[in-house]
């Protein structure tokens, strides 16, 4: 990824490679950790590295959290947070299910509904934060609870079944547009590339970094910060909408009571990927690496049949290590 924003420091001496490593040390270490963990599990149980497990187990289990984490990356780079993405996932999936079944929409119609509803929910967060000037933590905590309730109410506490009603809904995530490569993973990959382009090559991306670096200076520079913040939260919602579509396709149904807690997994992926909770700094590729680290760990520990409770401990330790490592690195670089 050509990364205009965080490009060459051109510090004295040093070859291009070492300059790159120094600049991208966060992502380089994250990627290295991912490789080390992967190799470890492969040595412990070679079946771990089988394509069936990699595609169907690891990559597929990254799709939903990964798509949400992409959206959350934008929000966190602005210095904000979105706690509502987990329950919004449930609400969008229920609304998509109900709409598709009631209006007899096809696959494309359903996807469109998901993206639109997700975007609307995201912009509500943006409006609460900018117009009502609520702190993002509070605003999205409120919408998190509201979305949870609405998901239960709209669904009447029952899963909404797609199969039979919509031809090909299963194929959105589980089909194989490219042989042996599940569509869900393809969607995640394409979404990551698009998100990366938006973040690094467009006006919206530029303002995302600007607001996170210094919101007041951005405002005084004549940028309509509120408007762009709403756009960022809306974009986050769009990715949550896409995640909801992929999830319903994976499950063949919309589950109203699922999603609470997913926001923390998405945020963890973003942070493991080197995006700073303080804002102004972050990458999509880092987020994808972060999400992969978590799903490789969870899948690998299952394959090793380690007692399940230890998974939680291990994932917690990885988050601590990732953030601590980032702190040490930044202190050495004199950023703190």
């Amino acid at each position: 990824m050509s990364d205009a924003v965080k490009a060459a420091t051109q510090s004295e001496g040093g070859s291009k490679v070492s300059a790159f490593i120094r600049r991208e040390i966060g992502r380089v270490t994250a990627l290295a950790s991912l490789v080390v963990i992967f190799v470890f599990f492969t040595i412990m149980r070679p079946v771990f590295a089988s394509w069936a497990n990699v595609s169907g187990g690891i990559l597929m289990s990254t799709t939903v959290i990964g798509l949400m984490a992409i959206g959350v990356t934008f929000v966190i780079i602005t210095g904000g947070i979105d706690l509502s993405v987990g329950t919004a996932l449930a609400l969008v999936s229920v609304i998509v299910g109900k709409t598709v079944m009631a209006m007899h929409l096809n696959v494309w119609g359903g996807i469109l509904v998901g993206l639109i509803v997700g975007t609307v929910l995201g912009s509500i967060n943006g409006i609460l934060i900018t117009v009502l000037k609520l702190p993002p933590f509070i605003a999205t905590l409120a919408t998190m609870k509201a979305a949870q309730g609405l998901a239960l109410i709209t669904s009447d506490l029952k899963p909404v079944l797609f199969t039979g009603g919509v031809k090909g809904w299963d194929s959105i995530a589980q089909g194989r547009f490219i042989p042996n490569f599940p569509n869900g993973v393809l969607i995640l990959a394409v979404a990551a590339v698009i998100a990366s382009i938006i973040l690094n090559k467009t006006v919206l991306g530029r303002y995302t970094f600007a607001i996170g670096s210094n919101a007041e200076a951005t405002r005084l520079s004549g940028v309509k910060v509120n408007r762009w913040l709403i756009a960022v939260y809306a974009l986050c919602g769009t990715f949550v909408g896409l995640a909801a579509v992929v999830m319903t396709s994976r499950l063949g149904s919309a589950q109203p009571d699922l999603g609470l807690g997913y926001e923390l997994e998405a945020i963890a992926a973003v942070i493991i990927g080197g995006t700073s909770l303080l804002g102004g700094k972050g990458t999509i590729s880092g987020t994808i690496i972060g999400a992969l680290i978590m799903s490789v760990l969870i899948n690998g520990l299952r394959i090793l049949e380690l007692q399940q409770e230890w998974q939680y401990v291990v994932v917690g330790a990885v988050i601590l290590l990732a953030v601590y490592g980032d702190n040490v690195r930044r202190r050495r670089a004199g950023e703190v």
Binding site: A4, A8, E12, T202, A210, N214, R219, S221, G222, G280
Partner: protein, 507 residues
């Protein structure tokens, strides 16, 4: 007065990746002495202070404290030795009282060790404040005090450790002249009690008033230590910058148009501004002088829509502007350069190009919203060349640039946006003496090219040197506008203190 040596640094060096921050630096401090360290930004003053206060570890050299060789591995160790530092940005807890702040971490407890003993705490604070002749209420909430009084709390806190060395980093940067005098009185009290004070300041005129010796650093190297008595400021400056800098100049060869570009009528805000009216002509530099808190920054922010106004009109070239938010002012071509560049002007963690194009991003985007980075980098390179920004490239991070070069980047941002009314708020704050001169020339050049400039400054020589006319504010009102030829420091100070009987002053 005893003259025993308190502290001596010999051959101290410190290297950061790619940068020699300090190279073989010497420094010593005696009891009852105020010893200034001066130098341009990047000369190594803060690195030296951070080594003394245990934040950084030196790579080489010796530190002797009261005759014994010591190492200072942590701020706690520095404190134990008796070295206290008062940072430029005060480190107080605004919601706690004066006494609580002074003794934070060392609170008196009631028997049993669980409950705090506030009576004892306040008594101790009262004794300490009396000793320092500070007129402060130990039970006052720190956040409600003026900056000057907060600084006194910091000093009291530093003294409360009963150390022998107190480091003051730019202590007068946000004080009024009266407050500065009060501070000097306290420093003299400290001196008299045998403490050593290391004094860091950009305000060279203060050195003669308060210091005994001056050590000059340049580019991490030790240059010279001078006795203050018998040293001219110009000598210090030339040691700092390695050349001579002229003082006390006035504008010459000015070419001011007749057209009134900006007219402000009856501007008021909720808290301070009352009925401010003035106008700004094409190619003019209009200086704004006044004491701290006179309302000059508030005026600038009200004009550009950063804060709400309660009354008043802003007329640009005969047309009234409806300004509700900063983007309205920017769209009209009015740019504001804040006194606090790091908070309100720059993205420190982003690069030069990013900062220069921030106000003009739509110009560097195609219809789909994609940025044309090549053209953005090109413009940034042009600005760097035009304004002589010293940076290895347009992709350098702003935080690695010196204050003067950072200021040039902010100027470049507004020039890129084609703003022709520029409001500079303290344009040389935190900028080295050498770079100041360059900023002055740049402001003059910009105005000669037809930009209309409002320049807010608390440094009177600066105001007199650059402004075609000088507007003076006091307590939220405009108390006078004078032509440069009629102006001198006395006249300005008189206007700046008009109606100011109710101003709160220190002590």
């Amino acid at each position: 007065m005893p003259t025993a040596q308190l502290l001596a640094l010999t051959g101290v060096s410190k290297e950061f990746p790619g940068v020699k921050a300090l190279n073989n630096v010497h420094f010593d401090l005696n009891e009852g002495e105020v010893h200034a360290i001066v130098g341009e930004n990047g000369a190594g003053k803060s690195t030296l202070m951070k080594i003394l206060s245990g934040i950084y570890k030196k790579d080489a050299g010796d530190i002797t404290y009261k005759g014994k060789s010591v190492s200072i591995p942590s701020p706690l160790e520095a404190q134990k030795l008796g070295i206290s530092i008062i940072h430029q940005e005060l480190n107080l807890m605004p919601h706690l009282t004066v006494a609580e702040n002074i003794f934070i971490g060392r609170e008196d407890r009631r028997p049993g060790g669980i409950f705090l003993d506030n009576t004892k705490l306040n008594e101790a604070a009262t004794t300490l404040l009396k000793e320092l002749e500070l007129n402060l209420d130990p039970t006052a909430i720190v956040g409600e005090l003026t900056i000057a009084k907060q600084q006194m709390v910091e000093i009291a806190k530093a003294v409360s450790y009963r150390g022998s060395v107190i480091i003051m980093d730019e202590p007068t940067s946000s004080l009024t002249p009266a407050e500065t005098d009060a501070l000097f009185k306290i420093i003299r009290t400290l001196k008299a009690s045998g403490k050593g004070v290391i004094y860091i300041s950009h305000r060279l005129e203060e050195l003669a008033k308060i210091t005994d010796r001056i050590t000059v650093l340049r580019d991490g190297e030790y240059v010279k230590t001078l006795d203050t008595a018998g040293t001219q400021i110009s000598e210090v400056i030339s040691l700092m910058v390695g050349r001579t800098v002229e003082q006390d100049q006035r504008p010459t060869n000015r070419n001011i148009g007749n057209e009134i570009v900006l007219e402000v009528q009856g501007l008021s805000d909720m808290h301070l501004l009352k009925d401010v009216s003035f106008n700004l002509r094409q190619g003019e530099i209009l200086g704004f002088a006044g004491l701290m808190g006179a309302g000059r920054t508030e005026l600038a922010r009200a004009i550009i829509g950063a804060d709400p106004k309660t009354a008043g009109k802003i007329i640009l070239r005969g047309k009234e502007l409806k300004i509700h938010q900063p983007s309205d002012a920017v769209d009209a071509g009015i740019g504001y350069l804040s006194e606090d560049r790091k908070r309100f002007g720059l993205m420190l963690t982003q690069n030069v190009t990013f900062n220069i194009i921030l106000s003009s991003i739509p110009r560097f985007a195609n219809k789909l919203g994609f940025l044309k980075m090549k053209s953005a980098d090109g413009i940034a390179r042009d600005s760097i060349a035009q304004l002589r920004v010293r940076t290895p490239s347009e992709r350098q991070y702003i935080k690695n640039l010196s204050g003067g070069n950072q200021q040039k980047v902010v100027i470049a941002k507004w020039l890129t946006r084609n703003c022709d009314v520029l409001i500079f708020d303290e344009p040389t704050r935190g900028i080295d003496v050498g770079a100041k001169d360059e900023i002055y020339q740049l402001l003059t050049k910009l105005s000669n090219e037809g930009k209309s400039i409002i320049m807010i400054s608390s440094e009177l020589p600066e105001v007199l040197r650059l402004s075609d006319r000088i507007a003076v504010m006091c307590n939220g009102r405009l108390t006078g506008v004078i032509d440069n030829k009629d102006a001198n420091q006395e006249v300005i100070i008189e206007l700046a203190t008009k109606f100011s009987d109710d101003l709160t002053t220190v002590n």
